[in-house]
C-alpha cells in the first residue's frame, strides 16, 4: 500500500510537470514566440529545414540526433555516447576538484585556528 502511494505521488508529479510543459509549449506556439515556431507559422519550411541542417551539423550535446544531413548514419556509431560520457566525466571531475579544494581550505583554516598563537 505504501509503495502504491509513493508510485502515485511520483506519477502525479510527472503528470504535473508534463502538463506544465505542454501548456508552455502550446502557449509559445500560439504566440509564435520562438524562432522555430515563427518559421513554422509563417510557412518558411525551407528556412526551417536549413536551420535543422545547421543544428545537425554539431550544435548541442546530441549533434545531428534528429535533424539535418548528418543524421544519416552508416551503421552503429557510439561517438555521441562517448562524447556525452566525456562531458559527464569532465563536469564530475571539475566539481570534485572544487569540492576537494574547498575541503583543503576549510581544513587549513581549522588548523590555523586551533594552533596557539
Amino acid at each position: 500500500m505504501k509503495i502504491a502511494i509513493r508510485i502515485l505521488i511520483i506519477l502525479l508529479a510527472a503528470a504535473l510537470i508534463a502538463g506544465i510543459t505542454y501548456g508552455i509549449t502550446q502557449l509559445s506556439s500560439g504566440s509564435g514566440s520562438t524562432a522555430a515556431e515563427g518559421f513554422q507559422h509563417s510557412g518558411e519550411g525551407g528556412r526551417e529545414r536549413a536551420e535543422g541542417g545547421n543544428r545537425g551539423a554539431g550544435e548541442g550535446f546530441n549533434p545531428g540526433a534528429f535533424e539535418g544531413e548528418h543524421s544519416h548514419s552508416t551503421g552503429a556509431n557510439f561517438s555521441t555516447t562517448l562524447e556525452n560520457l566525456g562531458k559527464i566525466g569532465i563536469i564530475t571531475a571539475i566539481v570534485i576538484a572544487i569540492s576537494l579544494g574547498l575541503d583543503q581550505v576549510k581544513r587549513a583554516r581549522h588548523r590555523r585556528k586551533s594552533q596557539p598563537a
Binding site: G60, G64, N84
Partner: protein
C-alpha cells in the same frame, strides 16, 4: 542443516541498478547509434527506472522534504534541489520525446503532430540533463567510489587471491 542464504545488500542492488540506469541513459542520448525505436523505448523504460530509483531512496526524500528549511544540511539541500531539477528535466525530456515520437507511439497506434517547439525543447532539456547528471554524479562521488571499491574491486581482488592460493596448495601437494 539448512543451507545458508546469501544476503544481498541494498547498497549492492543500488549500485548495480544505478550502473544499468547510467549506461541506458548514455545509450538513450544517442539515437544516432541506437536508432529511433530503441531510443524511444529506452527513454520510456528509463522513466520507470527513475521511479524505482526514487522508491529506493524514498526515506531520504521524506527526511529532507520534512526538514528542508530546518534540520537539513546545506549539502543535503543542494542535493535535493539538484535531484528535483533532474526529475523535472527528465520528465520534460520523456514527455517531449513522446510528443515527437516516431516509433514508440505510432507502434501503439497513436500519432501526434510533430511540433518544432517540442523538438527544440526535447533537445535542449536532453543537453541540460547531461550537465545535471554530471553534477549528480559529482555530489555522490564518495558513495560511488566506496561502493565500487566494496562491491566490485574487493570481490574481484579476493577472487584472484583465492585462485593464487589454490595454485600454491596444488604445488605443495605435488
Amino acid at each position: 542443516m539448512e543451507p545458508e542464504k546469501k544476503k544481498i545488500s541494498l547498497t549492492n542492488v543500488n549500485l548495480l541498478f544505478d550502473i544499468v540506469i547510467f549506461v541506458a541513459f548514455l545509450l538513450s542520448l544517442d539515437p544516432y547509434a541506437t536508432g529511433h525505436a530503441i531510443h524511444e523505448w529506452l527513454g520510456i523504460t528509463l522513466l520507470a527506472a527513475i521511479a524505482i530509483h526514487l522508491l529506493i531512496h524514498w526515506r531520504w526524500i521524506e527526511k529532507v522534504t520534512a526538514g528542508f528549511f530546518r534540520k537539513s544540511s546545506t549539502q543535503a539541500r543542494l542535493n535535493y534541489v539538484l535531484n528535483g531539477l533532474f526529475f523535472i528535466d527528465f520528465v520534460v525530456v520523456v514527455f517531449t520525446g513522446l510528443m515527437i515520437s516516431e516509433a514508440a507511439l505510432p507502434s501503439l497506434g497513436l500519432t501526434i503532430g510533430h511540433s518544432t517547439g517540442m523538438k527544440t525543447l526535447h533537445r535542449t532539456s536532453a543537453d541540460l540533463l547531461v550537465v545535471i547528471l554530471g553534477l549528480h554524479a559529482a555530489i555522490h562521488w564518495k558513495w560511488i567510489l566506496n561502493a565500487i571499491r566494496r562491491f566490485i574491486v574487493q570481490p574481484v581482488g579476493r577472487l584472484f587471491r583465492r585462485k593464487k592460493s589454490n595454485v600454491v596448495t596444488v604445488e605443495v601437494k605435488a
